[in-house]
Amino acid sequence: AQTVTQSQPEMSVQEAETVTLSCTYDTSENNYYLFWYKQPPSRQMILVIRQEAYKQQNATENRFSVNFQKAAKSFSLKISDSQLGDTAMYFCAFRNGGATNKLIFGTGTLLAVQP
């Protein structure tokens, strides 16, 4: 069974600095997708970034980028120039490429951006 592990329950960063959130996963699949979702206090889960396992190039979305290490089964999220609005719970999620699109989530990392 696939599992997703986020080993950092909480993190803190100063405004304008860079922070990296860690995620590891376990799977025997070769075709899969990885995601980072953000969940602010309002509870709306928002997609931050997505990575297809068949792509070697790391995904980037503005200030957000990932370091995808397929062999190590690692998928970290880097937030550059942190902003107060980045304060939220961040979930790493895995989905295989099969018929069911079930997302398997980690337990989340609570990120606090300090002014």
Binding site: V4, Y33, F35, Y37, S42, R43, Q44, M45, I46, L47, R50, E52, F91, A93, R95, G97, G98, A99, T100, N101, K102, L103, F105, G106, T107, G108
Partner: protein
């Protein structure tokens, strides 16, 4: 484009009572998901529909939970009777059948959730 809509946003009930949640997915999204998020945990899939058919309900406690999507658009999730451990946020998400790269399974977009407290 309107997002995923859910109602109610909050619900407080006593154990053994019944409760129902409603979800309206993004227009054109054939796939709809219900997740349960217990405090301090990541969401867990309860059931996945494609149009009005069930794709995966392996983690749905079928003795008390039921869900339907009769016309392939809106969906309702019901709990009857509720237990204390059902206190959670119930998230609805929707996606296209295929992603932009043509592969199976589009990105899932989530609604605001319904926070349920069972006393």
């Amino acid at each position: 484009e309107a997002g995923v809509a859910q109602s109610p946003r909050y619900k407080i009930i006593e154990k053994r009572q019944s409760v129902a949640f409603w979800c309206n997915p993004i227009s054109g999204h054939a796939t709809l998901y219900w997740y349960q998020q217990i405090l301090g945990q990541g969401p867990k899939l309860l059931i996945q529909f494609q149009n009005n058919g069930v794709v995966d309900d392996s983690q749905l406690p079928k003795d008390r939970f039921s869900a339907e999507r009769l016309k392939g658009v809106d969906s309702t999730l019901k709990i009857q009777p509720a237990k204390l451990e059902d206190s959670a946020v119930y998230l609805c998400a929707s996606s296209l059948v295929r992603s932009r790269d043509g592969r199976r399974g589009g990105t899932q977009y989530f609604g605001p959730g319904t926070r349920l407290l069972v006393l």
